[in-house]
Symmetry: none
Subunit: 401 residues, 2 copies
């Protein structure tokens, strides 16, 4: 599909806005009740739904609940099953660690070993985050490996991220976690010749870490897993010919945008700030990815009423984006996060596409899960949304004569 797009694409100065309300889709609490989005008063989104075209997006495949990585890759037009991003890279992006083509990112976790080197607690008693931060600082102060640059970043409790930067680093190295207590950790071993340097570097890192941590309790060692290189993925400029910018507050989404080659702007703190940033960059880019976190976090908290509230707060901001006169304005989510489930879910995601010049109106007059059932976009795979957006923006030539 990307090959076809590359052949057909053309530039015409049009502007596309992709507003991702993370975890937008929901469920009713009561049988027969309304979802969060259906409950929220959203006059501005309803107007766009009436004038535009709506539908339901399946992020990865029917029945698949996506994490943030696959969810966003789909919306950016990449098949999330084909473009599997390594766990180490996702963990790094999540804490704001940049990952580039010379890097290997690794998930680490502090653990407890006994005098014989056997693991007695794989999570080091779930040490508090402050301890994690102190131990990471200690590692930073003392670890020194020739030939690579090492970056260490705390995540939460017993979890950390390690990034090696250097030449000739492959990602094909086994996890060192034995997955049960009573066993020694596994030596990091390369699965293919191109990763031997990484394995040697990791071995040296673990040796130094053991020495540095040996008088700590309970976190007197660490394990590494999910060795991952920067994924080979074509940029949005290469595939779509778009100058794309991300205006996202949280590190994970900035990182995901960077993976597909977007410029990452300083977003400010609130959605109002983000929209101001979009406004200030309007002439410099063709494609604007705006990420709104709170529909997901309130869903994860199981707080139906607060999820309704943050949807309403988002709706209030919509006219500012419409006032910029985008050629295509999309509002969707990377997945559903029903507050009833307190987690990401597999349910299709309400999606609205408003394109004043090219939208074919459908039967929807509000923006919500049930209204989207009658939508002109039908039920579609998220990876098809970008070609549909480009088409509505007049950026795809006719295929064949």
């Amino acid at each position: 599909m990307h090959d076809l797009i590359k052949k057909l694409r053309e530039s015409n100065g049009s502007k596309i806005v992709l507003l991702v309300a993370d975890g937008l889709g929901g469920l009713p609490i009561e049988p027969g009740g309304k979802t969060e989005l259906e409950t929220a008063k959203t006059p501005n989104l309803d107007r766009l739904a009436t004038e535009g075209t709506v539908g339901l997006s399946t992020p990865v495949a029917p029945g698949i609940t996506p994490g943030s990585g696959p969810g966003h890759l789909g919306l950016f037009g990449y098949d999330p099953v084909v473009h599997d991003i390594g766990r180490g890279v996702l963990e790094a992006l999540g804490v704001g660690v940049e990952v580039g083509p010379r890097d290997i990112a690794i998930r680490g976790n502090f653990c407890t070993i006994d005098a014989d080197g056997r693991v007695t607690d794989r999570r080091a008693g779930r040490i508090p985050t402050e301890t994690c931060e102190r131990l990471v600082a200690k590692l930073r102060a003392h670890v020194k490996i020739e030939g690579v640059e090492t970056l260490i970043e705390p995540v939460r409790e017993y979890r950390l991220v390690v990034r090696f930067r250097g030449d000739g680093l492959g990602e094909d190295v086994c996890d060192t976690d034995p997955l049960q207590t009573g066993l020694a950790t596994i030596a990091p071993t390369a699965g293919s010749p191109g990763s031997e340097k990484t394995a040697r570097v990791a071995e040296e890192f673990l040796k130094q870490a053991q020495a540095i941590l040996h008088d700590e309790q309970p976190a007197n060692y660490l394990m590494m897993r999910g060795f991952a290189a920067f994924p080979k993925i074509e940029t949005m400029a290469e595939v779509y010919g778009l100058r794309a910018v991300a205006v996202a507050v949280y590190p994970m989404y900035r990182g995901l945008a960077r993976l597909v080659g977007m410029t990452v702007a300083e977003p400010g703190k609130t959605i109002a700030d983000q929209i101001d940033v979009v406004k200030s960059l309007w002439d410099q880019y063709d494609f604007f990815f705006i990420h709104y976190k709170y529909t997901d976090s309130t869903g994860e908290d199981g707080d139906f009423a607060r999820k309704v509230g943050v949807i309403e707060a988002l709706d209030v901001e919509i006219p500012k984006l419409v006032a910029l006169r985008p050629d295509v304005f999309i509002v969707t989510g990377d997945h559903s996060t029903p507050s009833r489930m307190k987690s990401h879910s597999f349910h299709p995601v309400p999606t609205l596409l408003w394109a004043p010049a090219t939208s074919r109106p459908d039967l929807a007059t509000t923006f919500g899960e049930r209204a989207c059932l009658n939508g002109g976009l039908g039920q579609f795979l998220a990876k098809h949304l970008m070609p549909i957006a480009l088409a509505h923006a007049g950026r795809l030539q006719k295929f064949g004569a």
Copy 2:
């Protein structure tokens, strides 16, 4: 999919009619208004929509605007991305030049070169079509190449079609257009050994053309591009076991039908004539492709009212086809041509399938874009329509036990 169909298909004497109203889908002119098809009074199509099953067809892929070639291949059940028909072949079909397995079809255009052979006008001042016809006649009278049969046909203004017929002709020859003025034309060069004869023939053709045209102004030379062989494509008889006949007035559609092995009937001039032809051939074929051009041409003209008119004129003829008692009767388009856009578009195409013995009725009681949103066919890829039609006609056995 074709392999599966070939295993499951069986003949049962049933009849399938595929009526393609070219560019059928549309858009409202006014926000909230009706499309052309929704505006048209179509009591006969509405009756079929009520009794049958409707849906929205995506010709190639979401967001892709198809030309007539890919649009029709999809409806005939061939993946238009896999079966990419070369530009030269499509141009030839469009002016009624037959293309067969021993042929290479090439798009030509007259141009102006200076005394040093540099292109000064790539379109020869857009000479009128009459001049094009005179120059083509002059070329026909004098070009003579050993070992191949040459056919030259005017298209419009500076454009013409050249067809070489002979043995051992490959299509892998570069365009001779340098794409900018001030440069010499490029010699036709084979990209692989199987196309060397074509390159030599083209070189000789261009040499002779230059001598024949040298005292013309401004069209004193020509360039060639889009070298294309007859596509290797299984016929509808081979895939579906159908005796298929095309009743189409315009050359392009007759040619496309011939590509997939249909017999091409003499259609008369009007849709009423075409239906008479179908009636006269009813016992000799299983599958009838009827092409109606005017829904597209009025859309291309941007004439909403006339597009409504030609839809109503088509509706009047529908009972005659129903009276033939087809087992499956499909009305669809190869793409949308909204008069608001004056061009083909990417919007899904209203589709109706009426099969008295097997249709499962849905919620639609009229035939139109919005009504099709609730249709039993859902939103589907055009290439899936043929298996659905065969199934409704009882021509596919059970798969597996």
